[in-house]
């Protein structure tokens, strides 16, 4: 899975958990919470959906790694690779 694929995985999850948001112009280097209406429960949703859909675990200590699309890709791509995806 490429980093762009990984960003799309996260965007697909956000589309489901924040269905009122316009995701057409999300800036990859800007914190998601600074450009979208996302609260702490929504971030737990992202963690839950990564677990449910992709079998990926994100420990609480690493939540900050999900701050932006770029940081998500940095953090998650090796995890997908490790799972053979």
């Amino acid at each position: 899975m490429t980093k762009d694929d990984c960003k799309q995985v996260v965007l697909d999850i956000i589309a489901d958990i924040a269905p009122d948001e316009d995701l057409s112009n999300v800036k990859p280097d800007v914190r998601l919470r600074d450009q979208l209406q996302l609260d702490s429960m929504d971030f737990l949703d992202i963690v839950m959906e990564l677990r449910k859909r992709h079998g990926i675990e994100v420990p609480e200590a690493d939540y900050q790694r999900l701050a932006s699309l770029d940081s998500c890709a940095e953090y998650l791509t090796p995890k997908f690779t490790a799972l053979g995806k």
Partner: protein, 414 residues
């Protein structure tokens, strides 16, 4: 006038019922014989008779609110917003910290808990897949809390658990809080999301109290000799209640005045009604209202179409109203919409409020053969009845564990 004796009036109505999403549509269908029962797929049980509401959740909620919240919360928000719009209140100017939300519920949390158990069953019952939304979804105050979030109400917002007496209880509690001076505006009534939990259906089925019928529209048949149980429905009805002085100051439209109420308990059985206590409840409500039985022009019954329960309520009504009340009509709204559980009392009152204006009593439908034990004088069967006078409505709502509520409203006369 002191607050403790302040006159309390209904100034707005918002509702969703299986046969209507506004008072006008609901009333029209009650007068034209349109029921709202259909078949719905219930988890583990297959198609079951149910009353399903068809309001548009996105009329007053964002998609995310609908996704995160509960059906009961969504119904509450819809009803509250519609009631406020109907009331003519300038919502922007209303003191949110002086507003209370009091919502009656039969139960809350079954739907959400069942959904989570079903969810983790897909993950070998590993609880790490249990939703972090479970607790805010299942706390008992959820429907009122979600409504407070949507409306920005910062006064007291909570639910009142009173089984199927809860709809009346929302109004009763609101009237009490207005008279105590706790709030200046109350948004109150009852809601139910119970059709989304298989447990309610399975429980009534195990109790042999779940209705069956080939024709869904004829399934809910209180007082009919062939009645065979309850049709479970969802729904909601919330009112705006105000002290009369406040309502008049702003020139509000007034639907009715709260005349009186009573709430008591059977203390006799988990599920079986107690007609003696029901009669005591009705009499006490009349006494508080300073009305005699003959002064009541419309009695809306609680009857749910269980073989025994209907007879017992008729026994209670007969004990109070006897044969000497020629101006008293009696009807039942569940014959159209099934049993809306926590919403029942509030919805059934709403369906009858327009009688103050049109002097028509909506009927109890689906009575092909009247059970002789339910043959009350004044029972309005199958067709609406034009009457000479409707100045008072008495609304019964009773619930499991023996909680009884009677609410009386009167035509507003300045």
């Amino acid at each position: 006038m002191s607050l403790s004796t302040a006159r309390i009036v209904i100034t707005g109505v918002g509702l969703t019922a299986p046969n209507g999403d506004s008072l006008a549509e609901f009333r029209h269908h009650l007068l034209t014989g349109v029921a709202g029962i259909s078949r719905m797929e219930i988890r583990y049980m297959g198609p079951q008779l149910a009353g399903v509401c068809h309001y548009d959740p996105l009329r007053h909620q964002k998609k995310k609110e609908v996704r995160v919240g509960t059906r009961a919360g969504s119904i509450s928000i819809y009803c509250a917003r519609e009631a406020l719009a109907d009331s003519g209140l300038n919502w922007e100017a209303v003191a949110k910290d002086r507003t209370g939300i009091y919502i009656g519920c039969t139960e809350h949390g079954n739907v959400e808990t069942e959904n989570e158990i079903y969810n983790i069953s897909k993950f070998n019952y590993d609880t790490k897949f249990w939703s972090h939304y479970h607790n805010p979804r299942t706390v008992a105050n959820n429907p009122a809390g979600e409504t407070s979030l949507n409306l920005g109400v910062t006064g007291p917002c909570y639910t009142i658990g009173a089984a199927c007496a809860a709809g009346n209880m929302g109004l009763v509690h609101a009237a009490q809080m207005l008279r105590l001076g706790e709030v200046d505006l109350a948004i109150c009534g009852g809601v139910s999301e119970s059709i989304h939990t298989f447990g309610i259906f399975a429980g009534f089925k195990s109790q042999n109290a779940l209705a069956t019928h080939a024709d869904p529209a004829k399934a809910s048949r209180p007082f009919d000799l062939a009645r065979n149980g309850i049709v479970i429905s969802e729904g909601g009805c919330l009112y705006t209640l105000e002290r009369l002085d406040d309502a008049r100051r702003r020139g509000a439209k007034i639907y009715a005045e709260i005349a009186g109420w009573h709430v008591n308990s059977d203390a006799s059985d988990y599920v079986l009604p107690n007609p003696t206590r029901q009669a005591e409840c009705i009499r006490a409500a009349l006494a508080r209202s300073r009305l005699a039985p003959r002064d009541i022009h419309l009695v809306n019954t609680h009857a749910t179409a269980t073989p025994l329960g209907d007879i017992q309520e008729c026994e209670a009504i007969r004990a109070v109203f006897g044969e000497g009340c020629p101006d008293t009509s009696i009807n039942n709204t569940k014959s159209f919409i099934g049993h809306c559980m926590g919403a029942a009392g509030a919805l059934e009152l709403a369906g009858n409020l327009p009688s103050f204006d049109d002097l028509v009593v909506h009927p109890t439908i689906n009575v092909d053969r009247l059970d002789p034990q339910c043959a009350l004088p004044g029972l309005v069967l199958n067709q609406p009845r034009q009457v000479a006078k409707v100045d008072t409505i008495l609304n019964n709502s009773f619930g499991m564990l023996g909680i009884n509520s009677t609410l009386i409203v009167r035509r507003f006369v300045p």
